[in-house]
C-alpha cells in the first residue's frame, strides 16, 4: 500500500441550523492506497457525509473544510464544477445504497452506462456499446443484451444495483466510494457484488472506500477499518484485528451483535459515554 491515492486531513462538514452551525463530520483524517478501507459507524456518525464530502457531493447548505483533501495529487478543495465533472465518473465514482433512486427511469440501462463513458476519451458509439456490454457481463448479468435495452423499472432491485455498479465501474475509476452498496441486496447477490469490487481492487488496483454499518461483513471483506462516532474517527485498525479493538465503542458494537452459536442473554448493550463524542 505504498502509493497514496487519497489523502484527507481534518475534514469537517458543517450544516447551519436554527440553533447555530452543526458539525456532522468533525476533523476526519485518513489516507487511502490501492486497498479496501471501511468506514464503519451507526446512523448519524457522519460516515456517509464523509464519503459525499470527498466527492464534492455534500448537499446544500452544507460547508466542507479540510486542511488537506487531495486525490492523486489534485487538490479537491475549491475545485470548480468543470474539474469535478472531469473527475467524477471518469476517475472517481460512488455507488449509493438504493439503486431505484440512482437510475434515471426514462433512459435505458445501456444509454446510462454509455453516458458514463461520455467524458472518457473519444471512442466511437460501437466501441462504447461493446464496453458497456462487457461491463454488464462482468457484473454477472446473465443476459446483457436484454438488460442493455431495458428501462430501470423492467429489472429487479438486485440487478439494478449491479447495473449501478457497472455504470460506476465502466470508466474504470481509480477511486470508488461505496455507501452501503449491498445492504439492499439479498445475501446471494451480495456475495457476487462484493466479489466484483474485490476483483477491481486486487486486479486493477482501484482504491475502495466501503461505507457500512455491518461490522461482521467489513471485518471479512476489507483491509482496514475506520470506526466513526459522532463525526469523529474513534479508532483505526486492521480488519483482521477487529476483535482486539481498544475503544469501548468498537468493542460494544461488536459484542451487541447476536450470534448463531452463542447464547448471550440479555445481549450486551452500549452505554454511550459522553467523553467519546468529545
Amino acid at each position: 500500500m505504498s502509493d497514496t491515492l487519497l489523502s484527507v486531513e481534518n475534514l469537517r462538514v458543517t450544516y447551519p441550523t436554527r440553533k447555530g452551525p452543526a458539525e456532522v463530520v468533525r476533523g476526519v483524517s485518513f489516507t487511502l492506497g490501492r486497498e479496501r478501507l471501511a468506514i464503519v459507524g451507526e446512523s448519524g456518525s457522519g460516515k456517509s457525509q464523509t464519503g459525499r464530502a470527498i466527492l464534492g457531493l455534500t448537499p446544500k447548505p452544507g460547508i466542507v473544510t479540510a486542511d488537506k483533501l487531495s486525490f492523486d495529487g489534485i487538490d479537491l478543495r475549491g475545485a470548480k464544477p468543470r474539474q469535478w465533472r472531469a473527475l467524477r465518473g471518469a476517475r472517481m465514482s460512488m455507488v449509493m445504497q438504493d439503486p431505484k433512486f440512482s437510475l434515471n427511469p426514462v433512459m435505458t440501462v445501456g444509454a446510462q452506462i454509455m453516458e458514463a463513458l461520455a467524458f472518457h476519451g473519444r471512442s466511437s458509439r460501437a466501441e462504447k456499446r461493446d464496453r458497456a456490454l462487457a461491463m454488464l457481463e462482468a457484473v454477472q448479468i446473465r443476459d446483457p443484451k436484454r438488460v442493455f435495452d431495458a428501462y430501470p423499472h423492467e429489472i429487479s432491485g438486485g440487478m439494478g444495483q449491479r447495473v449501478m455498479i457497472a455504470m460506476m465501474l465502466v470508466a474504470e475509476p481509480d477511486l470508488m466510494i461505496a455507501d452501503e452498496p449491498t445492504s439492499a441486496l439479498d445475501v446471494t447477490v451480495q456475495v457476487e457484488v462484493l466479489r466484483i469490487l474485490d476483483q477491481l481492487v486486487s486486479e486493477k488496483g482501484m482504491g475502495l472506500v466501503f461505507i457500512s454499518h455491518d461490522l461482521r461483513l467489513v471485518s471479512t471483506f476489507c483491509d482496514r477499518v475506520l470506526v466513526m462516532y459522532a463525526g469523529r474517527v474513534v479508532e483505526e485498525l486492521k480488519a483482521s484485528e477487529l476483535h482486539r479493538a481498544q475503544h469501548p465503542y468498537t468493542r460494544g458494537l461488536i459484542s451487541c451483535l447476536p450470534e448463531i452459536d452463542t447464547d448471550v442473554r440479555p445481549l450486551p448493550t452500549l452505554d454511550r459515554d459522553a467523553s467519546w463524542a468529545l
Binding site: 451507526e42 471479512t220 451487541c256 448463531i260
Partner: protein, 254 residues
C-alpha cells in the same frame, strides 16, 4: 395443534393477468408461549405470511387457526385483542401528527378498556420510556424509541400473540440489541407467543426456538435452534444463508 396454526396457506395478490402468487402452500404451527421465526430474503413471502395472519393480506387458500378455531375474514374486533403486530419501519408505523399519548390511547378507546391513564403510563414504563415521552411527537424520538412505542402500542391491548415483522432491521446494531432484550424480557414476563420474521439468521437464532426458512413463497425447511447451531440444515439454500451470515469469503481460485 398449537395456539396458532397456519395450514397450507396461499396468498395471491391482484387479478388474473398480473397475479402475484406471494405465498404458496405454507404450513406451520406455533405453540403457546413459543417464539417462532421465519427467515428468508426479500420477496420470499415471509412478511406476507404475517400480514395474512392479521388480515392485512388475503388468505387465498388454506386456513389460519387461532386456538383451534379458524379465523374469518374480515377479522372481528376481538381478534385484535389476541393478536397484535410490530412493523418493520418505526419511521413509517407511527402517525407523524399524533403524540405518543394519542397513539397509545386510541387502541384503548377502540377496544373499550378502562383505567386508560394508568394503562398508558404502565405501557410506557414497560418498554423503558419514562413519562417525559408521553406527549412527544414521533419526530422528537429516535428510531429505537419509536420502535419501543410501537411495541408499547401492540402490547397495550394485552394480546397473547405478537407478530414481529423485522422489528430491528431499520435500527442500528446497538439499538437492535436493546430492542431484542426488551422483546425477550416482555415475553418472559408475560408468557407471550412470538412469530418473528427476519432476514438475519443470527437475530432469529437468538430470539426463536424454532424457525422456518422460506424462499420464493415456499417453505424450504423447518429447523430448531439446536439444529441450526449444529449446522444440520438439509437444504442448499439454508446452507447458503448460513454461509452468508458469517461474512465475506474470497472466491476460491477456479
Amino acid at each position: 395443534m398449537g395456539l396458532l396454526d397456519v395450514i397450507n396457506l396461499d396468498v395471491i395478490f391482484g387479478e388474473a393477468p398480473q397475479q402475484v402468487h406471494a405465498v404458496k402452500g405454507v404450513s406451520f404451527s406455533v405453540r403457546e408461549g413459543e417464539s417462532y421465526g421465519i427467515v428468508g430474503e426479500s420477496g420470499s413471502g415471509k412478511s406476507t405470511v404475517l400480514r395474512a395472519i392479521c388480515g392485512l393480506a388475503p388468505v387465498s387458500g388454506g386456513a389460519i387457526e387461532l386456538g383451534g378455531r379458524e379465523v374469518v375474514s374480515p377479522r372481528g374486533r376481538d381478534f385484535y385483542k389476541t393478536v397484535q403486530m410490530v412493523f418493520q419501519d418505526p419511521y413509517a408505523s407511527l402517525h407523524p401528527r399524533h403524540t405518543i399519548d394519542r397513539v397509545l390511547a386510541e387502541p384503548l378507546a377502540i377496544q373499550g378498556f378502562d383505567n386508560r391513564e394508568e394503562r398508558i403510563e404502565r405501557a410506557l414504563s414497560d418498554v423503558g420510556l419514562g413519562p417525559g415521552f408521553r406527549f412527544r411527537f414521533p419526530h422528537q424520538l429516535s428510531g429505537g424509541q419509536r420502535q419501543r412505542v410501537a411495541v408499547a402500542r401492540a402490547l397495550i391491548l394485552e394480546p397473547k400473540v405478537l407478530l414481529l415483522d423485522e422489528p430491528t432491521s431499520a435500527l442500528d446494531a446497538s439499538i437492535q440489541a436493546e430492542v431484542l432484550n426488551l422483546l425477550d424480557r416482555l415475553r418472559a414476563e408475560r408468557g407471550l407467543t412470538y412469530v418473528m420474521v427476519s432476514h438475519d439468521l443470527a437475530v432469529v437464532a437468538h430470539m426463536c426456538d424454532r424457525l422456518l426458512v422460506m424462499q420464493h413463497g415456499r417453505a424450504v425447511e423447518e429447523l430448531t435452534r439446536d439444529a441450526l447451531r449444529a449446522r444440520t440444515a438439509t437444504t442448499d439454500y439454508t446452507r447458503q444463508l448460513l454461509a452468508a451470515s458469517e461474512g465475506y469469503k474470497p472466491a476460491e481460485p477456479k
